[in-house]
Amino acid sequence: MASPYLTSLFSAAALPAGGAGPGARILSALASVRVCPHQQRRRMVAASVKRRYKGTARKEAALSELIERKVAEATEACAGEEAWEDGCRVAWDEVEEVSKAKADLRRRIAEGADDPLEPFCSDNPLADDCAVVYDDL
């Protein structure tokens, strides 16, 4: 969530650098202002916004929807059966597979400095999946 303070920071820095004059003056003026530590940290985070690629967002959504669907299918496949029949077991195994894939994707997004698609997109910037989608911070 961008605070008004941060947006004004960006719009100020984005002023035409007709000569480094006005931009530099504003930045140096800002630098001389004492900001609270937590605000300072927020500024650092905003300045290095994490890139999110369309492919990752799409995968996340696809997996979430797949989990819901597979759980419903499995519950139905096993309804009214005593022992674990083939169809029932396979259905729950699919649930486990997609849950695992989703959990791994979540972990890669949360832990990595870059988007999981970064290695692919740095080589193929024009791929559809490599369109950049910013998250609101």
């Binding site: 492919g55 995968k59 696809a62 997996l63 979430s64 989990i67 819901e68 669907r69 597979k70 759980v71 419903a72 499995a74 519950t75 096993c78 674990w84 083939d86 169809g87 029932c88 077991r89 396979v90 259905a91 729950w92 195994d93 699919e94 649930v95 486990e96 597979e97 997609v98 849950s99 695992k100 894939a101 989703k102 959990a103 791994d104 972990r107 890669r108 832990e111 999981p116 698609l117 290695p119 692919f120 740095s122 080589d123 193929n124 999946d129």
Partner: protein, 406 residues
């Protein structure tokens, strides 16, 4: 003549393929026909009198890891690659859904890539991914054998998002090749290729607690669905996956704690490191006196621990008919000094300097299990693998010099 350049080489008996991308000191005294690079269907097939000589770095040490937590992404793999240095990343520029991880020294592949049936195929046949009928063990054996001989392979990719088998990716032989998945020790031929094997044995209660933590936030999942998923997979798991633990050189068994009565949150864990005796290049870790039985509570006058404390046990045992040594830790670390205190009392850790285990644990303090036996034993096994690797490389370097003497 060329004998002097044989110092960093492997055995002279196996045919080695030439590959322009390898760093090689090639001295060809007597060549045979060379096999096609990257061929997967035809194995080595060269004459035994080949004297082609190439760098020993081309012949990897192969490690097998049996785990049910998704390939190449488990905490264990990350700790292992960290011990060797460097971060493991997916191959650059290839299929973004590849399961493979590559670092400077290590390549980790996911055995799910050897599925013979994709998701639809398994549904039609009525087999789970745990079932051997869903996996191509012939291909697995051929490719692991090829890598072990220093050849590159075109390995298929199983895409977990789409559930399909994607076009193959090229894998070059690294220094250390890890195969991770559900069936690394299932096929006897593959088992014989492994220089070291590990099995991660998670008890049912802990598995349940972990899966709840993992999946509860997902729409569509509930306590019942998570429980049903574990129970439905259990018959196949017990029939096909569990029996592999008798073949493992090291088993990490994770159980609920005994320090807190009726604890079912799975937060405090009792972890056992079961190490097979008599394994080449592997000396089990011990506490105080090798071969005796010890129970040790480090918390006392010298060390203050917070609740529930730490308890260690060590002793010889028998595991599926094999002689083993078992090191067990129950409880968790709360502070750095607890960790270093424990490390200073363990022996045969294969560390290169005092405090290396602690340093590795701290380096990844954010990984799950960093405050209990799972992190500790995974780190120790990582160091043991490094030691094993160095011993094997030293052996290989020593062998040609002896052959030359003969």
């Amino acid at each position: 003549m060329a004998i002097s350049s044989l110092h960093a080489t492997t055995s002279l008996h196996s045919p080695c393929t030439t590959n322009t991308s390898f760093r090689q000191n090639q001295v060809i005294l007597f060549t045979t026909r060379s096999s096609r690079r990257g061929s997967t269907r035809h194995g080595g097939g060269g004459a035994r009198t080949c004297f082609q000589v190439s760098c020993s770095a081309d012949k990897p040490v192969v490690i097998g890891l049996a785990a049910d937590s998704g390939c190449g992404k488990s905490t264990f793999m990350r700790r292992l690659t960290s011990v060797f240095g460097g971060a493991a990343e997916p191959p650059k520029g290839g299929n973004p859904d590849s399961n493979t991880l590559i670092s400077d020294t290590t390549t980790v592949i996911c055995l799910d890539d050897y599925h013979s049936l994709d998701r639809t195929g398994r549904k039609e046949k009525g087999v789970t991914a745990l079932d051997p009928r869903a996996n191509d063990f012939d291909l697995m054996y051929e490719q692991v054998k090829a890598i072990k001989e220093g050849k590159a392979i075109e390995k298929p990719i199983y895409n977990h998002v789409t559930g399909l088998l994607d076009p193959p990716e090229l894998i070059q032989p690294p220094k250390i090749f890890v195969i991770e998945g559900l069936h690394p020790m299932f096929d006897e031929r593959v088992r014989d290729l492994l220089d070291f094997s590990i099995y991660l044995d998670i008890s049912d209660e802990v598995k349940f607690a972990w899966k709840i933590q993992r999946d509860m936030a997902e729409r569509g999942h509930s306590l019942e669905s998570i429980k049903a998923s574990i129970e439905a997979r259990k018959p196949d798991f017990d029939a096909f996956i569990d029996p592999q633990k008798q073949y493992a050189d090291a088993v990490i068994e994770v159980l609920p704690t005994q320090l807190i009565p009726d604890d079912n949150e799975g937060k405090v864990l009792r972890v056992k490191l079961i190490m097979k005796e008599g394994v080449k290049n592997f000396n089990p870790v011990y506490l105080f006196d090798e071969g005796s039985s010890i129970t040790w509570v480090p918390c006392g006058r010298k060390l203050t621990c917070s609740y529930p404390g730490i308890k260690f046990a060590y002793g010889p045992d028998s595991y599926f008919g094999n002689e083993v040594s078992v090191l067990e830790m129950d409880g968790q670390f709360d502070r750095l000094d607890e960790l270093i205190y424990v490390e200073s009392h363990l022996s045969n850790l294969s560390t290169k300097f005092y405090g290396e285990v602690t340093q590795q644990m701290l380096k990844h303090a954010d990984f799950p299990g960093s405050n209990n036996g799972t992190g500790l034993f995974q780190t120790i096994v990582g160091l043991k693998i490094r030691d094993l690797y160095e011993q094997i490389i030293a052996e290989r370097a020593g062998a040609p010099a002896e052959a030359a003497k003969v």
